[in-house]
């Protein structure tokens, strides 16, 4: 995890640029947002993570003013903005499909907001040209100024969309899966660039993504949206290490999760009694979670030490992903159990298909939701 100075740790009270209070929105009776509460700190990078259909796009569109909320309050820079039309909000929006103006060139796309906005339009063409030149340099589009936007690559379109928004100097930019349309290589490169560009402009980015790695890598703060509610709001380290509920842990895609119930000193799970001893987390639904990379694979005859938990499972397959191997096992109840082994810790072992192994972890490494 990245080192960061999470303001609350240092004890600084940051001003929040955007506050959402109990925001509701339903589409023909089906709730998409079911009471969203959040406060987004100024000058920071915030990722909004959630599974498909959890209401991420709806939330961004409500903040931008493209959709009206059914209830609740939205405060932007201390002012209530629900009911204010989108063009008076001063909030930038970067669309997943970029939504560039197809009849304008790259430079004209970027200059459009400056020249045409209702408040304080820039009429001096030299000032416009200078600003456009600066922002084109910032996002790395030099040389493409006169090109039609239908004649540039996906990554370049992404930069035009960003430049077009940033040049109008909004205090907040909403990005709806801005990297979703790019290929994997470019996506990784753009992650770093987005962070750098944001730091130089000093604006708040609210970046929607369905990818947990992207959310964790980019956000100073990560908001997790689940079924129209904010399930957790934390920095990446906290979120990864201490998810607030079994559902959040499930989205992070790095925990094996058992449902069941607590009895005395153990967790009654479908695969047997798992001894307690680790951190306990208050949440609605009892569950037992163990991170993929905290589990060791041992031969069946090996027994567990006193502070360890041991279950048995049969090996299915492994998957190499660069620095780690992910091994998949089936438990006795048929469910899949995943183990991540970092290759710096151990040479890759080969396991026999359908053979049974012991899976062992330290009691204190497990996270128990009560």
């Amino acid at each position: 995890m990245r080192d960061k100075s999470w303001p609350e740790l240092v004890g600084i009270q940051v001003k929040s640029v955007l506050q959402l209070k109990n925001v509701h929105k339903a589409f023909s009776g089906v709730p998409a947002l079911a009471g969203v509460d959040a406060a987004l700190p100024e000058n920071s990078y915030i990722s909004l993570l959630g599974p498909s259909g959890s209401g991420k796009t709806t939330l961004l569109r409500v903040i931008a003013g493209f959709e009206q909320p059914d209830g609740g309050e939205i405060l932007f820079a201390g002012q209530r903005i629900d009911g204010v039309p989108p063009h008076e909000r001063g909030i930038g929006f970067v669309f997943q499909n970029f939504a560039l103006f197809p009849h304008l060139s790259v430079a004209e796309n970027i200059a459009f907001g400056l020249e045409n906005r209702a408040v304080d339009p820039v009429t001096d063409t030299r000032v416009v040209a200078a600003k456009v030149r600066d922002i084109i340099g910032l996002v790395g589009l030099s040389g493409l100024e006169g090109r039609a936007v239908t004649q540039i690559s996906g990554g370049q379109k992404q930069r035009v969309a960003l430049a077009r928004t940033l040049v109008t100097e909004p205090s907040m930019v909403l990005l709806d899966e801005p990297l979703g349309a790019l290929d994997a290589n470019l996506r990784t490169r753009m992650r770093g660039e987005l962070r750098t560009i944001r730091e130089r402009c000093g604006v708040t980015f609210l970046h929607v993504t369905g990818s947990e790695t992207e959310a964790l890598a980019m956000g100073d703060t990560v908001l997790v949206l689940d079924r129209g509610r904010i399930a957790q709001s934390a920095d990446a380290g906290t979120l990864y290490g201490r998810p607030a509920s079994a559902d959040v842990a499930r989205f992070l895609n790095c925990y094996n999760i058992f449902s069941g119930a607590i009895s005395d000193d153990a967790f009654e799970s479908p695969v047997g009694r798992l001894a307690l001893g680790g951190a306990q987390q208050k949440s609605g639904e009892p569950a037992y979670a163990i991170r993929y990379d905290r589990v060791a694979i041992r031969p069946l005859h090996a027994s567990a030490a006193g502070d360890e938990v041991r279950i048995e499972a049969s090996f299915v397959a492994s998957e190499y992903s660069g620095a780690a191997i992910n091994s998949f096992f089936t438990l006795d109840d048929g469910r899949v159990f995943e183990v991540e082994t970092h290759l710096s810790h151990a040479a890759p072992e080969t396991f026999e298909e359908k053979a049974r192994y012991a899976l062992v972890w330290k009691r204190e490494d497990a996270l128990v939701f009560v």
Binding site: H87, F101, R147, A148, R164
Partner: protein
């Protein structure tokens, strides 16, 4: 059937299609070069001449055949077509824009609009004449007939624009709003340029439909005739090849109109390409 057989069949079909499409026109064009004033509107061509074209413009010595009484009618029809085109296109664009958002009763309003092109023209024309009589309103080509032309062509413009807006990506408008641009200015600078090819098509529809509208105009236009009515009127006396000469000229005019449409259409498409070419050189 083998591939060359299919080809032959399709070729034959296309030939027939072209013959039926252009055959009448060709006959018209050939007969318009009949000699005058003694030559009639039938084969064989006694002698090739441009007599009837000159006759149209009053350039021939006076004869027993009167010049076509269509000069005023032509001006009327053109004016009416332009008026109809402007009003129907504006109505069509704004109505289609309104239909982008679902509103209560939108289904009913849709069918009410489309009805204008479905109901038989003779009935509407007759109905308009009756209404005008009852209300004591005079019938004129620029009044009662104009209203009927709009009612008739507006649905076409509306449907064209509806199809255009169906394929229109509304997120470019939202992008403009989020840059601080008002919805009105966004429509002018973003939406309109993008739907312009559709607007051109709507204009073309409205103009041509109004220009040769007959049945509605017949009852609703009153004393002063429009071009189709005037031409029809000449048939009831005696047909001379000057009508054919006129037919050729109006066809040429239609081609010119289509040409203008194609050029304007091409310009809006080529704009993007031109920018790309400048970039490459």
């Amino acid at each position: 059937m083998n591939a060359s057989g299919i080809k032959l069949g399709l070729g034959l079909y296309t030939m027939l299609f072209i013959v039926f499409l252009y055959g009448p026109l060709a006959v018209l064009a050939i007969l318009s070069f009949q000699t005058g004033p003694e030559g009639g509107p039938q084969f064989p061509i006694i002698e090739w001449s441009t007599y009837w074209y000159k006759h149209l413009f009053g350039l021939t010595p006076p004869s027993r055949i009167a010049p076509l009484p269509i000069e005023q009618a032509l001006i009327r029809s053109l004016t009416l077509a332009v008026m109809t085109m402007i009003v129907s296109t504006v109505l069509g664009v704004t109505a289609a824009q309104a239909f982008r958002k679902k509103f209560r009763g939108s289904g009913v309003v849709f069918y009410l609009i489309v009805l204008g092109m479905m109901v038989p023209g003779v009935l509407v024309g007759l109905g308009m004449a009756l209404v005008a009589n009852t209300l004591g309103v005079d019938r004129h080509w620029w009044g009662t007939a104009f209203v009927l032309h709009v009612v008739y062509t507006f649905p076409f413009a509306f449907l064209v624009m509806l199809a255009i807006f169906n394929r229109f990506d509304p997120s470019v408008e939202e992008a403009a709003w989020s840059l601080g641009v008002t919805p009105t200015r966004t429509f002018r600078k973003i939406t309109f340029p993008l739907i312009f090819p559709g607007v051109l098509s709507a204009m073309l529809f409205a103009f041509t439909l109004s220009y040769d509208e007959f049945s509605r105009t017949l009852f609703a236009s009153g004393r002063d005739l429009t071009l189709p009515l005037a031409i029809y009127g000449t048939f009831s006396v005696e047909v001379h090849p000057n009508v054919f000469a006129f037919g050729v000229l109006t066809t040429l005019f239609s081609f010119a109109l289509l040409g203008t449409y194609a050029v304007l259409m091409g310009l809006s498409v080529r704009r993007a390409r031109r920018m790309a070419i400048q970039e490459d050189t």
